[in-house]
């Protein structure tokens, strides 16, 4: 199932051990999923959410900033900037 290509899309790089172990597990699940072909779904609309009937939005206003608390969890930081490796 082109595990490598799927892994790249999922932003995972798999070691040879992962490819072996997870590859088998993925194949097993996909084989199991293939039984879904047996059921007739003609005329059925897809359900994305069982009970959600409307989309709500919240009021557009400023809220108290939690920036400091959020920044406290950043893995690497210089003052109020999050540090990442060089992009260019």
């Amino acid at each position: 199932m082109e595990l490598d290509a799927t892994a790249r899309m999922a932003r995972l790089t798999l070691t040879p051990r992962d490819l072996e172990k997870l590859g088998k597990a993925v194949e097993q699940m996909l084989r199991y999923f293939s039984h879904m072909k047996e059921i007739d779904v003609d005329g059925l609309a897809p359900t994305t959410h069982a009970l959600l009937r409307e989309n709500r939005v919240r009021a557009d206003h400023n809220e108290a900033s939690q920036a400091d608390a959020l920044l406290a969890n950043a893995p690497q930081r210089e003052e109020r900037f999050i540090v990442v490796p060089n992009v260019l």
């Binding site: 992962d18 996909l30 359900t47």
Partner: protein, 474 residues
């Protein structure tokens, strides 16, 4: 109050929990007991009732009552690890609405309970951070993914604990530990502060030692929340008393079940008949497809929800990397465990262009058929009865249940999530020294009916006490 020595498998009366985590006279004894039990069983990833007192009201119906919170639900100043190396050191800057409402009612967070990483599993063995043992038999798993919550309640550390249920993650561990597990109607409890795994399926719910405790906590937690746009206003259903019509899916008989579960299932049916209810076997044509539909949808949503862990703003970051892309790849590889990687891979695959119709779209159409099966059932019945899990609590170390079998075993639980229905598991029997649970499913917002049906069963068969219960502080 003086209490006679407990006999495992027999139920003790209600214990007095109010005030224990604040100013109650039993506080010191309770804390010593909680710490000792937790050291034996590994229920908590962080046990800190002092820290928990911050933010709780001094008065209210639950004043000073300690409770556990599954560690994928945010509590300010507590860690929020999701049982993952990815979030091992993450400290939550805010508190989930469900927790906040309990705190306003006076309840006190005792600590954060262990879970399968990001809620993915049925044994709590997928936690990267701690092993949790079943209080009935430490060689066995407590179930999962809310295994720490269920074990903490069954061990007598807390009277209730919050869990999340995406495909059975509250009901299955509750059943494995001999306590109650309420999975509310999808949207009825705010998920603000719940780390997302599969958003169209999951809900925050309750593991508890008594039905009344679940009822009390649910009443406090439920209702629409402006901070969760998927939360729904509470829509109570007219109360139904007296004789209930209960449907049992005929297809349950097609699932290979352990003889102890079969026995408990039979006992429950005859108990319900003795209580005056009518039981009828009805066919659910979609039954054999629920697990496929569930895993396609759950993994698809997981692959999207877990894309946020990139090593940039929070969470694990690899020690050294040359560029941002390599940093993200390495951080995710190091941070996630095997089961999480498997589900991300599967979810990414079923969403790939060219495969979507075959998997994701088809699963969503089957989901519609599953919903229709239940709508049909509830046109002629008040409740649906099913076992929770086909086997009793299994041995730790996957000796008698591999990860694939564990997924297939979600067959009784995941349909409630696909259809958004409330469901509640209850202890039904103790067979060969291990608790076996059954569950009721009900129409949306019929939690009152679920609770009253469980209360009736409770009067005949209350939650059996695990060895070591009641708590040593009582």
């Amino acid at each position: 109050m003086k209490r006679h020595a407990a006999q495992p498998g027999r139920a003790s009366g209600a214990l007095e929990w109010r005030g224990l985590a604040s100013t109650g006279p039993g506080r010191g004894k309770w804390k010593t007991f909680a710490e000792a039990r937790d050291a034996e069983l590994g229920c908590f990833l962080q046990l800190d009732p002092e820290l928990g007192q911050d933010g709780s009201s001094d008065s209210g119906p639950l004043a000073g009552t300690p409770f556990g919170v599954k560690d994928n639900i945010a509590v300010r100043r507590f860690r929020l690890t999701c049982g993952s190396r990815m979030l091992r050191d993450f400290v939550s800057p805010y508190t989930a609405t469900a927790v906040e409402r309990l705190q306003k009612a006076g309840a006190v967070v005792a600590g954060k309970t262990n879970l399968d990483e990001f809620g993915m599993g049925s044994s709590t063995e997928n936690s990267a951070l701690r092993e949790t043992k079943n209080p009935w038999d430490p060689r066995r798993v407590p179930g999962g993914s809310s295994g720490g919550s269920a074990a903490a309640v069954a061990a007598g550390i807390v009277p209730f604990a919050l869990g999340s249920d995406t495909g059975g993650s509250i009901r299955q561990p509750a059943a494995f530990c001999g306590v109650y597990g309420l999975k509310p109607t999808w949207g009825s409890v705010s998920r603000f502060g719940l780390v997302a795994y599969a958003s169209s399926l999951e809900v925050i719910g309750i593991v508890s030692k008594t039905v009344d405790t679940a009822s009390q906590a649910f009443e406090v937690m439920r209702g629409q929340d402006p901070l969760d746009h998927s939360s729904l206003p509470w829509q109570p259903q007219p109360r139904k008393d007296g004789r209930l019509r209960i449907h049992v899916p005929r297809e349950c008989a097609t699932v290979p079940m352990h003889e102890d579960v079969t026995k408990a299932f039979e006992k429950t049916r005859s108990m319900l008949r003795d209580l005056g209810h009518t039981l009828e076997e009805v066919s659910f044509p979609t039954f054999e497809h629920v697990v496929s539909s569930y895993y396609v949808i759950a993994t698809a949503e997981a692959s999207a929800n877990l894309a946020r862990f990139d090593g940039v703003r929070y969470g694990h970051r690899t020690a050294s990397s040359d560029n941002p892309e390599q940093m993200t790849l390495a951080s995710r590889n190091e941070g996630f465990g095997d089961e999480v990687k498997l589900r991300i891979l599967l979810g990414t695959y079923v969403l790939r262009s060219g495969f979507q119709d075959e998997y994701y779209m088809r699963a969503q159409k089957i989901r519609t058929a599953i919903r229709m099966d239940f709508e049909k059932a509830f046109a002629g019945a008040d409740l649906v009865l099913m076992p929770v899990y086909p086997v009793p609590p299994f041995a730790r170390g996957s000796a008698d249940s591999d990860p694939f079998s564990q997924k297939l075993a979600d067959i009784f639980t995941c349909s409630a999530n696909l259809a958004g229905l409330p469901a509640m598991s209850f202890p039904a029997s103790v067979e060969n020294g291990l608790p076996i649970g059954m569950q009721f499913l009900a129409p949306p917002f019929a939690e009152d009916l679920l609770l009253s049906a469980c209360r009736q069963v409770e009067e005949v068969f209350p939650s059996p006490d695990a060895p070591g219960y009641p708590a040593g502080w009582s």
